[in-house]
């Protein structure tokens, strides 16, 4: 009881120390910038329901901006809405519309520069060019926002949540759609991307460039040009995400390009044209992933060394693994392959004959894509079979010598 | 009843029927005779509409048969070879014909005449060749029709059944039917036929009443009479 009283007194003190300013059509402050102008650092500006035309509003002091009953900030297509240039700003509960669009400047609904300890949450952004663009800002939290782009072509749309040169960011629970990249990280280290939904974006659901030591977990990526692209980065952990319906000519669930030391665990890849496309990436551990009904489960191009594929489920993919070279330095072991037709006489749970996941036909399709219409033809089965018996075009050491007889559970 | 006008038929280069014209206007039994490959069966099949002649027309009761298949209501057919769907019973087979066309309401008498009652529920695949031939006979004689076409009717029948069949044929003539039959057995022709038509290499070389033939050639045996008659027309290579 005494403890509760203590907390209460603390709150009362803080309320008296940090003031609260209200904005509404009948209030003393009728516009948000005027309220911010008069606010002291660490005050709370409470914005009531209403439509507020605003553009290029600059925040230069630590402040809490809170929308009550979802007030609307209308940018009238004139440029940025909010520019945060101070640490410790919290921006919560707004609906934002009509951000400007420009081919020379990357207008964003919420922009920050050299501003640490930000919290941007529970905002609904519509028709944005860029949604939330944070630069050189660390220890930021971007949470539970909904960002909708213009659902137009790649070159005239921007990214939903765009971080550049940031550290310790946490992007969580956001819903991103109709953008170029749902989430874009460039030079962002030690950050988390958790439980977001990123879909119907023209390029990637999530995009890492030159970023290290990041984790992304529990996200759902669907119907994007490609689900996630991780490029030129190190030590990225990718766990328990779902990648689905990323369909198209150069479409992937996950694209890995020049990355090292990554872990890819417990993800579900379903109905993607290519579940994972790997290009020049080494020391990557793939474990306990489900690959279901993808065009290609794993497509390896360029030099990829010391990668391990263990205990994954490959179920009903048109092609399980495709390679463009005859060399193989990667390990496939203990996976479940639904197209494995071997047997297990000693009943140890592992197939007695190895499984070769690379089909000759995948080479043919790489060379002449139109031949895809012959997929699953009896004739193709015959040539695949003969290649399996005596490998000529496919790496002869590329095989899973311990294929699981049953779907692997974890 | 049947009028055949200048029909001919070629199978590739082989001329099976050459310019044959025939008319049958009176009831009676006509024996169609001739050596193997002389076109007897083909001639019968053209009347049945199974073989389509290259030239000429055939009329049954004045109607051109190439125009309307319903004339076949008036023709019953006994084919040479009796094979039937193996997995159907005799009863089911009879039902097919009964549903296809007008049938004598007393057809079960025919079934018992040939002793087929015990086989009624038997599958046709399990019947012997002779029994199947009896079924074949019943199938054709049960039809209500003015014209009967019998292709080698006695082949495969035992003597008793042969006698029964001959009686049956006679009784159908007495009903006023036109019966066309082919056979190699001269005894049957001698016994049954009122008139004979003789084919050789697809041509009709003789047509006449059996009694006239015997009279004109002064031969008692029909076989000899025919040989005589044909020789008289300067035809060589005759084999009967």
């Amino acid at each position: 009881m005494s403890r509760f009283l203590g907390i209460l007194t603390c709150l009362m003190i803080s309320a008296s120390v940090f003031g609260q300013i209200e904005v509404c059509s009948d209030c003393q402050f009728k516009t948000v910038p005027s309220a911010i102008e008069s606010a002291s650092p660490h005050d709370t500006v409470l914005v009531h329901k209403g439509i507020y035309p605003i553009h290029n509003m600059v925040i230069t002091k630590p402040i809490t901006l809170r929308g009550l009953n979802r007030p609307v900030l209308d940018g009238e297509d004139k440029g940025y809405i909010v520019k945060i240039l101070s640490d410790s700003v919290s921006f919560t509960g707004f609906d934002i519309r009509r951000v400007g669009i420009s081919h020379t400047e990357d207008y964003a609904a919420i922009y920050s520069f050299r501003a640490d300890y930000l919290e941007i949450s529970d905002n609904h952004l519509e028709d944005v060019f860029f949604g939330i663009r944070l630069e050189k800002s660390s220890n930021v939290v971007v949470k539970d926002n909904i960002v909708k782009g213009r659902f137009s072509r790649e070159f005239d749309s921007g990214n939903g949540i765009h971080l550049w040169h940031c550290k310790n960011a946490r992007v969580e629970g956001n819903d991103l759609s109709g953008l170029r990249d749902g989430i874009y990280f460039e030079f962002v280290d030690d950050s988390y991307v958790i439980a977001n939904r990123s879909h119907h974006n023209t390029r990637y659901g999530l995009h890492y460039m030159f970023s290290n030591d990041d984790d992304y977990l529990d996200n759902y990526f669907y119907n994007n040009g490609a689900g996630v692209a991780v490029m030129f980065s190190k030590n990225i952990k990718m766990i328990n995400n779902r990648f689905s319906h990323n369909w198209g000519t150069s479409s992937y669930g996950l694209l890995l390009k020049e990355i090292y030391d990554a872990e890819i665990k417990m993800n579900l890849f379903e109905k993607n044209t290519v579940a994972i496309s790997v290009d020049g990436s080494s020391r990557i551990y793939y474990r306990n992933n489900d690959f279901i009904q993808n065009g290609w489960a794993i497509r390896v191009t360029g030099g990829c060394y010391v990668n391990q594929f263990t205990s994954n489920n490959f179920i009903s993919n048109s092609f399980d693994v495709s390679y463009n070279s005859k060399l193989n330095d990667n390990l496939f072991q203990g996976n479940f392959w639904s197209s494995y037709s071997g047997y297990d006489i000693d009943r140890d749970g592992w197939g007695d004959i190895p499984y070769r996941p690379v089909k000759l036909f995948s080479y043919v399709v790489n060379r002449t894509p139109e031949t895809i219409v012959l997929l699953r033809s009896f004739f193709i089965d015959i040539i695949n079979f003969s290649e399996r018996v005596t490998p000529v075009f496919t790496p002869d050491n590329l095989m899973d010598d311990q294929p699981s007889m049953k779907k692997i559970k974890w | 009843m049947v009028a055949i006008q200048e029909i001919s038929k070629k199978y590739r280069k082989l001329e099976v029927l050459k310019d044959i014209s025939l008319e049958f206007n009176e009831p009676g039994i006509i024996g169609i005779l001739g050596p193997n490959g002389s076109g007897k069966t083909t001639l019968l099949k053209t009347i049945l509409g199974m073989v389509l002649p290259d030239n000429g027309t055939i009329r049954v009761n004045g109607i051109d048969i190439s125009k309307d298949y319903n004339y076949r209501n008036e023709i019953a057919y006994l084919p040479q070879i009796a094979t039937f769907p193996e997995n159907l019973s005799v009863k089911e087979l009879l039902a097919i014909i009964r549903d296809l066309r007008a049938v004598d309401s007393k057809y079960m008498e025919l079934v018992s005449l040939f002793g087929l009652e015990q086989f009624l529920s038997e599958k046709l695949g399990n019947l012997s060749g002779g029994t199947r031939q009896k079924v074949n006979v019943v199938l054709s004689f049960m039809c209500k029709s003015e014209i009967l076409i019998l292709d080698e009717p006695t082949v495969g029948l035992d003597p008793v059944s042969t006698v029964k069949l001959k009686e049956l044929i006679k009784s159908h003539r007495d009903m006023g039917k036109l019966i066309l039959l082919t056979t190699h057995i001269m005894g049957i022709v001698d016994e049954l036929a009122d008139e004979i038509v003789y084919l050789l290499e697809g041509r009709m070389v003789y047509r006449g009443f059996v009694t006239d033939l015997k009279l004109s050639t002064q031969q008692d045996s029909l076989e000899r009479a025919i040989v005589n008659e044909i020789h008289g027309k300067d035809v060589v290579d005759l084999q009967i």
Partner: protein
């Protein structure tokens, strides 16, 4: 109408004759066994659907071919007797054709349907794929029964008729795709997407395969850049056009068979 009544009669007897034959029972048992084994072995409906597709698109045409030929030559004499009856030839052959192909289809539906029903297909998301597979199997049965009966009608020599029919099956099942693949590889530097679709439409087995691919492998099919492919596989056009073509493949052989029956001597 009297003539359809007669066709119905011919159909009924042919159907009865077929379903009492021991080979069709073997065929039914085969599907039953296949269905149960597949479901028992991996208990996964979607991969069973793929295996069954592989079997259906090869086996149903072969069985349709064999039964079509066998039925035709075995019942040739009886057919002749029927031709001498007051019934149109087209009704006889249509009736027999329907009797054979429907009895084969019935084996397929029961033989595969039963195991899948027992293993709880009704609750599965695969039900649509499965029903489509059954329809494809039926279409192929109709198509190849018609083709083989047509070939048989045109060849009074049993050995020839049998040989040509099986050869035709072999052609569509294997050889065609070999030629197809070679052509695609030879002309790979030319725009061949339309050509490749056309080639797929001209073979009922390929056509059926494409219909299944659109459902099961759409992820892979969408990987190709050509606009023609994108429209064909990405929209419903692919299913509509392939469906119409398959329908044509189903009906045309029967039509050709009936047509040539009218001009033939028996």
């Amino acid at each position: 109408m009297k003539f359809t009544e007669k066709m119905w009669l011919i159909f009924k007897y042919s159907f009865k004759d077929m379903i009492r034959a021991k080979w069709i029972i073997v065929y039914l048992l085969f599907y039953l066994l296949l269905g149960f084994i597949l479901l028992f072995l991996n208990n996964d409906l979607s991969s069973s659907v793929i295996t069954i597709m592989n079997i259906i698109i090869i086996l149903t045409p072969l069985i349709g071919t064999l039964f079509g030929v066998m039925f035709y030559y075995n019942s040739r004499e009886f057919t002749e007797l029927l031709i001498a009856q007051p019934i149109r030839r087209s009704r006889i052959f249509m009736g027999q054709y329907l009797g054979v192909s429907l009895s084969l289809s019935l084996s397929l539906v029961i033989g595969l349907g039963l195991p899948f029903l027992i293993f709880g297909l009704a609750n599965s998301a695969e039900i649509f794929n499965f029903i489509m597979l059954i329809f494809i199997g039926m279409a192929l049965t109709f198509s190849f029964t018609g083709l083989s009966m047509w070939i048989s009608l045109r060849n009074s020599n049993r050995i020839k008729g049998f040989g040509y029919s099986v050869l035709l099956w072999l052609f569509f099942a294997v050889i065609y795709d070999g030629i197809f693949l070679s052509l695609l590889l030879i002309f790979e530097n030319y725009p061949i997407d339309q050509f490749s679709l056309l080639m797929s439409m001209l073979n009922p087995i390929d056509l059926s395969r494409i219909l299944v691919l659109i459902k099961l492998d759409i992820s892979a099919l969408m990987g190709y850049t050509g606009a023609v492919f994108q429209t064909f596989f990405g929209s419903n056009w692919g299913i509509v056009i392939s469906g119409i073509m398959l329908l044509l493949w189903m009906t045309t052989p029967a039509y050709m068979m009936v047509r040539s029956s009218k001009r033939r001597d028996f």
